[in-house]
Amino acid sequence: MPVETWLIFILSFMLIGSVAALEMKDLLSAIIAIGVVGLGVSMAFLLLQAPDLAIVQFLFEIFSVVIMVRAFIKRDYHHQTTPSNQIGKTILVIAALGAIFIFSINVFKALPPFGEPLMTTAQYYLDNCAKETGAANIVSSIVLDYRGYDTLGEVTVLFGAILGALTILRIKPGAKPDEEEKS
């Protein structure tokens, strides 16, 4: 079976899962649904011949689900009810997004068809990677050698995000456990 059939199946499964994750009343089911959507993305990466990305997506998505479940479970959670003046805003947003979708059909027709990328820069990377860097994994050599400066930026962003999360929670890892901050 060609790749497109599997991809259409996985993508429709992900669409149903993401609509369910946004609309379900129970919180734990919504978080599990977003976990399943992430696994669907990982399977799609495997089908599209990107095993590096499949590993990274799978592991990071498990970590996100663990963080979300730890933070939100067993709190005093009052279910919200939609008041009646929310319906107008919902219909307006759905109409605007539908219009964007219809205008985007022409845009996607102008791109190269699925399965035939241009590969003008990438052909140089594929041909010269083994002799210039000595690595067998071409994606690793692009991330750490040809485009190492982008990885420096990403290391900085990760550092900033983690430090921001620790500052918001006001936890200092050097303090003793019985001297916690009272806000």
Partner: protein, 149 residues
């Protein structure tokens, strides 16, 4: 009602044996980043998940006594500074920032491809320590009106 924190004794016994294998698997993924899929990011997350496994099974007071959290939290910006130091060494040796100046070796060896192996190790340690610190802080957080866990 359980008197001690964490899961049952079966889970604790299995975790005592298997957490070292998970850390070994994470180190394998980091070191073979230039030969097979994986690399620094995937290996770092595996090591962070190994520590998370210990924290879920034994309770977080045990982990705070077992590991030196202050040192692990300081390791993360140290690895960021080491990444910059490798880049500046590239200017000193070869004339451009983050140049690949170590010996490239032969293809398909474990010690090959110069800079890429060193940078993979640095990134792996950084991601592992950063993510584990965030999860530890989320576990330690208490509401001031007496939350649970």
């Amino acid at each position: 009602m359980k008197q001690e924190p964490g899961l049952t004794i079966i889970a604790k016994t299995v975790t005592r044996i298997s957490v070292w294998l998970i850390i070994l698997y994470g180190i394998y993924i980091i070191l073979h980043g230039h030969l097979s899929p994986g690399g620094g990011f995937a290996g770092g997350v595996v090591i962070a998940l190994a520590f998370l496994n210990v924290m879920l099974t034994f309770g977080h007071e045990t982990v705070t006594r077992w590991l030196n959290i202050d040192f692990l939290h300081d390791l993360e910006p140290a690895c960021g500074a080491m990444y910059l130091a490798v880049g500046i060494l590239g200017i000193a040796v070869s004339g451009s920032f983050l140049a690949n100046f170590l010996n490239k070796g032969t293809l398909f060896n474990l010690v090959s491809s110069g800079n890429i192996l060193v940078l993979n190790i640095i990134i792996g340690i950084k991601v592992a320590m950063g993510l584990f610190t965030v999860v530890w802080a989320l576990a330690l957080f208490r509401f001031d009106d007496g939350g649970e866990k």
